[in-house]
């Protein structure tokens, strides 16, 4: 036993054991320290002229722009439509990812047939899909939701399919010996054991859904945070660009926290 374990290896453990309960309540505030410092640096860089204001607007200018758009109600429309697209796209992508991930995780034949194709498709950049999706699915909401679904699909598929493949052989033997039958082994052994992998996949999928939004909203969109950003670029409005980046960061983080919370509740053993 180390006499100094708190300082020698304790941190690894304390990630799980947790620090003092009182201090815990305010730990999340630490997460604001670095961003706050960055905002100050940003302000100084613009204020001292290292970056000109038309290149990088002052933080306050960005807030003003966002506030202005919020005041006219325009902002909420953008946010609402993007949230809606991300939500349905993620839902679709995750669902299909679960189905295909399960099928390929379970059946060697399905894996042999589908996996190489899906592995190849996963590296196709979102922008590359845009012309094809226009062609295949037109300019409606459907095309946008589908493109977002493509983004959300791959991490779920990959993680679930490898997660199922990696379920401890020990436990699969238990299911075999006790003759659980295919369906029950899935329900009681394989799926629960793969839930952590699935949730990692869903977190990744939600992240990629946010990445694909910009490309999706290049498909004939006139609303949405991604549109706002593209529009900001076309109009050379850095305050709008930075504002939409902040919106992406905010909502991306929010949805990530939500999935993390589900993860914490689901994987409690």
């Amino acid at each position: 036993m180390a006499t100094t374990r708190e300082t020698e290896t304790g941190d690894v453990g304390s990630a799980l054991a947790g620090a003092l309960p009182d201090a815990d309540r305010f730990r999340w505030l630490l997460g604001l320290v670095v961003p706050a410092a960055l905002v100050v640096v940003w302000h100084l860089l613009v204020a001292t002229g290292v970056f000109a204001a038309h290149q990088l607007p002052q933080p306050l200018r960005v807030v003003e722009t966002l506030y202005g758009m919020a005041a006219t109600g325009e902002l909420w429309g953008h946010i609402a439509i993007t949230l809606q697209r991300v939500f349905f796209g993620t839902l679709l992508g995750v669902s299909v990812g679960i189905v295909l991930g399960t099928v390929t995780g379970l059946y060697g034949l399905a894996e042999d047939l589908l996996d190489p194709l899906l592995q190849s498709l996963k590296n196709i950049p979102s922008l590359a899909w845009v012309p094809l999706f226009l062609l295949w699915f037109g300019i409606g909401e459907g095309a946008k939701v589908l493109l977002i679904a493509v983004g959300a699909f791959f991490p779920v598929y990959l993680n679930l399919s490898t997660g199922i493949g990696n379920v401890s052989e020990d436990l699969i033997e238990v299911a075999e010996v006790y003759d659980l039958g295919r369906f029950e082994s899935l329900r009681r052994v394989v799926f629960p054991a793969a839930v952590p992998s699935l949730l990692v996949g869903i977190r990744g999928g939600v992240g990629l859904a946010w990445m694909f939004v910009v490309a999706a909203e290049l498909i004939a969109a006139s609303q949405g945070i991604g549109f706002l950003m593209s529009d900001g670029r076309v109009l050379a409005r850095p305050d709008i660009i930075v504002g939409s980046i902040l919106l992406f960061a905010f909502f991306g983080n929010l949805s990530d926290l939500a999935v993390k919370e589900v993860e914490k509740r689901a994987v409690d053993w």
Binding site: D170, E173, R188, V189
Partner: protein, 269 residues
């Protein structure tokens, strides 16, 4: 029978093998079984036959292939030389539904509570949510002395408690052939005695065939009709000791003491 050691008291494959006389199939039959893992020979030309309703104990030094033998019998090992049959059906043809096994390690589902873990062992045609099934599981929890822990997760159990959950799961299966791999190794004497007697009751009531791997010579002699002593690495059958004591037995029975001495001698202690 060249593989049988010189000290053999009895032909270990005296009962005919299924292939020769299907009508008189022994419950478990192994002939010329050789199992290699890479360069390691775990079992070398093992012959063994166990009649229906018989209680056989298997003892032998650590690493001599006892667990491997059970794994072969239960159909978990796909590649080996020789023949292994349950009720005359080759284990490589899928083995039999009638074989249940309690593994050497508890192998519990980390996310499931004690009740759910035991319910995994319920026969395939029993609905675990059925009140009768629930009662049965609760009865087993009581039998293995875990009252009050029905809702505990494996992470909250002591080593011996986890082992008893695994035992209860095996009993829940009500198999015709029950294989047990050191099921009482982590139990204190009192609990062990209780569970041994409980196992005897189950064996008698259900007329099951039991093969039990153990390191406890007293346990082997007290429980078994015959004790198979494996030896060496690679494992071969050293000898088979008949325990001649009448049932129900007293733990202090003279015949048991004699058998214990015989086993201990064969083990070379």
């Amino acid at each position: 029978m060249p593989s049988t050691g010189e000290a053999s008291k009895r032909d270990p494959a005296e009962a005919t093998l299924g292939s020769e006389d299907p009508a008189a199939d022994p419950a478990l039959a192994v002939r010329g079984l050789t199992k290699r893992y890479g360069d390691t020979v775990a079992l070398d030309e093992v012959d063994l036959a166990i009649d229906g309703g018989e209680f056989v104990a298997v003892v032998g030094p650590s690493g001599c292939g006892k667990s491997t033998l059970l794994r072969v019998l239960t159909g978990l090992e796909e590649r080996f030389e020789g023949r292994a049959a349950v009720d005359g059906v080759d284990v490589r043809d899928g083995g039999s539904d009638a074989v249940g096994m309690v593994f050497q390690e508890p192998r519990l589902l980390a996310w499931a509570d004690v009740r759910e873990n035991i319910a995994v062992g319920l026969p395939a045609d029993v609905d675990p949510d059925d009140p009768a099934a629930r009662d049965r599981v609760d009865g087993l929890i009581e039998t293995v002395g875990l009252d009050g822990f029905a809702e505990s997760r494996p992470g909250e159990l002591s080593g011996g408690m986890a082992q008893r959950v695994s035992l209860a799961r095996g009993l829940a299966y009500e198999p015709e052939v029950l294989l047990l791999d050191e099921p009482f190794s982590a139990l204190d004497q009192l609990t062990k005695y209780e569970q041994q007697d409980n196992l005897l009751d189950v064996w008698r009531e259900r007329g099951a065939t039991v093969a039990l791997v153990t390191h406890d010579v007293e346990e082997a002699a007290y429980l078994a009709d015959r004790v198979v002593v494996l030896g060496g690495q690679p494992g071969t059958v050293e000898t088979v000791v008949d325990v001649e004591a009448d049932r129900p037995r007293e733990r202090t029975d003279e015949a048991l003491l004699a058998a214990r001495r015989e086993i201990t001698d064969a083990l070379g202690v």
